[in-house]
Amino acid sequence: MTQVQDPFATMRPVELGKVEQELDNMWRDANAHLAATGAPAVSRNSVLTLVLYTTSRTYAGHLLEVVHTLSSQHPSRAVIVAADPKDEGDEIQAQIATFVNTDTNSYGEDIVLTAQSNAIKHLPGVVLPLIVSGLPAFLWWSGEPPWGSEMLESLIDGSDRLIVDIGEMTHIERSLGALENLMLRKAARCAISDTSWTAQAPWRDLVAQFFDSPAVLPYLSAAERVSVDFAAGEEDAQENSGQAYLFAGWLASRLGWKTQQTHARSMDANRQHTLRDTNGRAILLEVNPRYGVNQRNWWEPDIYATTFNAGQDAPPWVRPGALMSIHITARLEGKRATFTVAREQDLAHATTLCHIPDIAVPSQTIHLDSVGEREPISEQLRSLGHDSVYEEALTAAAQFVGTGKIR
């Protein structure tokens, strides 16, 4: 067993009250060093503050790597909070670093805060003053947020956008409901968004594309059955249907389909819902797990590459609960049409297939990575404000699982 290295070993520990002052010093030192070598000074500019919350220092290390890859597009101050409730004690410790990579023209500054169990509730008082005034503040929550906690509420109140990942949550019924509730309560000050939603964008695009043609569009309002399959591990392992419901929620909210009752049977993995369109026509929605799919968090490093022989291909994987296939059946004036987007065996590609009487549509394969499935955070930092399409999809998803408000 190799010793796990402290991911922040090279960072400078500082007193909590002196973070700003020490950062100033670090930039000055860095520039003095550059000036001595005749290189041009680097400017300390940022376009946003990113507060990142996680419960483990190891994860915090991985996530910081991701943040650094973003900094060429989003020069930022990153405040990484590692708050492990199992780490008993009363302390919050700070470490800082400046980050300059002249090869990629990226720069930023990092502040890592490690909070012990009893100090977690005091985090807002430490984090909020570190947010750069006047610039947008993003709160990126890795894992399941502690719904209802005062600490969470205060951090959200100090941010412009909360970024979560439904794919990292453990109890989907509760999480979707809690998220929707948060979204409604915080609407005036903070927008909510989800990296899983961003990762699904290519899937939404492909499904929408089926119906771009005016000749095919009428089939959309004649849909009878929609099934959404999501990735799951072993049959008895915890599964995450959040992304599947979010996708179904998108389709339903765009098309005005409403649920009457839910049949979420926790004992039965197959979830079926009867929806009604605005004319009262029934649409059957099915959400199914696809077992035995290799899953992992997108921001974790490629353990395989570091542990095994380099050069060997890592086994393919997807985000937990990722979409595996979408299948829509429609019947228009007696003509039956089917529309399918399915992830390929290699997990990296998706292929579209549709059968429509009298209309030729070639099938198409896309590389999901190339259209942004795996690295969704950068896109998140690009937008401020509310994404009403997401919000409506979330509301619908929460209704399907029975925790949303039926309106």
Binding site: A201, D205, A208, D212
Partner: protein
């Protein structure tokens, strides 16, 4: 054009709120000159990149047209080679290639063979059926410009040119490459030819500079920020310098270059685009015509050169033999394909005026050339000096003017040069450069200019293409200079040392006004 754009907006409720709310309609792109260099290096790689990153509709189809007897398979193989060699996303993704390549077809024909176009029309009709492209056709002329007229005519007689394609279904558009004419007369003649078959709003004239992210960013910088526009005029701006410098020579393109020269190759198109984007008034909207209307107004406000001014306000030059980076390089006249007595210029420097309310009295200095010190494209706005009486006698009378520089390539970015006090008891000032570098990218790697332009044409958005009046006004300007130059055959055509910033006459041009070129 704005109306055309609006009609592109989808009726599809699933498109609401999507990034790609403007979706590409299924279409066929017919490339004339499909076995040529441009198709090989730029077009096929760009189309593949689009298919990879921006899912083009599955129906999207390419038909290559050229002389040599290729089969579909051979054309596909050539496309695969192009992608593997030139795509920024190489090597090819095999699964994506599988579906993309099924949409590639080849049609052998001479450009002037009528029956070839009848065959093409049949093929398109068949593809419209089989692949669902609905009569939407884009014709890309990657051919010598001498064929534009013929191809337009023959497309027309084959019924392929009409605004609404086959039998009222679908649309047709035509893309033409630079050079668009070699003077005003030929440009107008070329246009007249094209207009017999295509209306102006069907014609997309490519200037690939406009496809560059950083060129588009000039508009964003100016009109997306509140702080620049108020100082963007004669009250605050002292002069504007536009540099498009290349460090390479003409390489194997001597034949082509002999006919063109720096003026036609760079100034008439790319530099005029930069100039108009920097100098134009805010458009009323970002629709194609509103933006281009404003650009044209700038061109119209440039007074034509009087003969006497040409000697004073223009400089040309030709690179001689020399050494670059320790290697001996040929002079222009020794390059293959170049006349040993050539009078074609490889360097131009110009001083232009824009006579309107905003720019009266502000000189615009332009310079471009081959075999210069480095490869750099930049627009620099030099602001007026403050009344520096305040700091006189403190060694600060050497203060630099503030400069806002927009670097187009390489190291795209924006920098602002300003003065700051050196810490200490003395009043000592020092220039500080505040640099904003776009990361190496705003995504993974910035899309190639051709990707953006091809996509815009598929979407029917011609904002980033050159309108006929832009072309004509800029030729008018260039013609006056070219005529004067050719009349005074004996006029100076100084040779310059490779690896320098051009002939010393170029320095004299700007120094006469008490200014200097920016050191780049």
């Amino acid at each position: 054009m704005e109306i055309a754009l609006a009609s592109q907006q989808s009726q599809n409720p699933l498109r609401v709120g999507m990034r790609s709310a403007r979706n590409v309609a299924p279409c066929v792109m017919v490339i004339f000159g499909a076995t040529g260099d441009l198709t090989h290096r730029k077009l096929l790689p760009a189309l593949y990149n689009l298919a990879l990153e921006h899912p083009l509709p599955p129906q999207f189809t390419v038909v290559g047209v050229a002389r040599r007897p290729f089969s579909n398979e051979e054309f596909r193989q050539q496309a695969l080679d192009s992608i593997n060699q030139f795509s920024r996303r190489r090597p090819v993704n095999e699964r994506v290639w599988d579906t993309f390549s099924k949409g590639l077809y080849y049609h052998q024909s001479q450009f002037d063979d009528k029956s070839g176009y009848e065959g093409l029309a049949k093929l398109l009709e068949q593809l419209d059926q089989e692949r669902g492209t609905g009569g939407n056709h884009i014709f890309y002329l990657a051919t010598p410009p001498s064929f534009y007229g013929t191809i337009g005519d023959l497309l027309n007689s084959a019924g392929l040119a009409s605004q609404d394609g086959n039998g009222g279904q679908g649309w047709s558009r035509i893309i033409v490459e630079k050079p668009f004419g070699h003077d005003l007369e030929s440009a107008m003649a070329l246009n007249k030819e094209l207009n017999k078959a295509f209306k102006e709003d069907q014609i997309y004239r490519i200037d690939h500079y406009l496809g560059k992210e950083t060129v588009q960013n000039i508009m964003v910088l100016r009109f997306g920020n509140g702080i620049f526009e108020p100082i963007w005029d004669r009250r605050y701006v002292d002069n504007v310098q536009i540099t498009v410098a290349e460090n390479i020579g003409v390489d194997s393109r001597g034949d082509y270059y002999e006919e063109a020269g720096a003026m036609r190759d760079m100034v008439q198109n790319h530099m005029m685009q930069l100039l108009t984007l920097v100098a134009m008034e805010p458009p009323t909207n970002f629709g194609a015509n509103a933006v281009r209307d404003e650009k044209v107004k700038v061109l119209r406000a440039i007074p034509p050169f009087a003969e006497a001014e040409i000697a004073a306000d223009t400089v040309r030059g030709q690179y001689g033999p020399g050494m670059v980076g320790g290697e001996v390089v040929r002079g222009y006249r020794q390059e293959p394909g170049v006349n040993p007595n050539s009078r074609t210029e490889t360097f131009v420097a110009l001083k232009l005026a824009i006579e309107n309310w905003r720019w009266a009295g502000v000189p615009f200095y332009l310079r471009t050339g081959k075999r210069l010190t480095k490869r750099i494209t930049e627009v620099a706005i030099q602001f007026k000096r403050p009344p520096y009486l305040l700091f006189q006698g403190t060694g600060t009378d050497q203060m630099q003017p503030n400069v806002l520089s927009l670097r187009i390539q390489p190291n795209e970015g924006i920098s602002l040069l300003f003065e700051a006090k050196v810490p200490g008891q003395e009043m000592q000032l020092r220039s500080v450069n505040m640099d904003f570098l776009y990361g190496s990218s705003f995504g993974v790697e910035p899309p190639e200019a051709y990707e953006r332009l091809l996509l815009d044409c598929m979407l029917g958005d011609s904002t980033l293409f050159t309108r006929i009046d832009e072309t004509e006004y800029s030729w008018q300007l260039i013609d006056a200079i070219e005529h004067a130059w050719s009349r005074s055959l004996a006029a100076a055509l100084p040779q310059y040392e490779p690896g320098t910033w051009g002939p010393k006459e170029a320095d004299a041009l700007i120094e006469r006004d008490g200014r200097t070129w920016r050191r780049l």
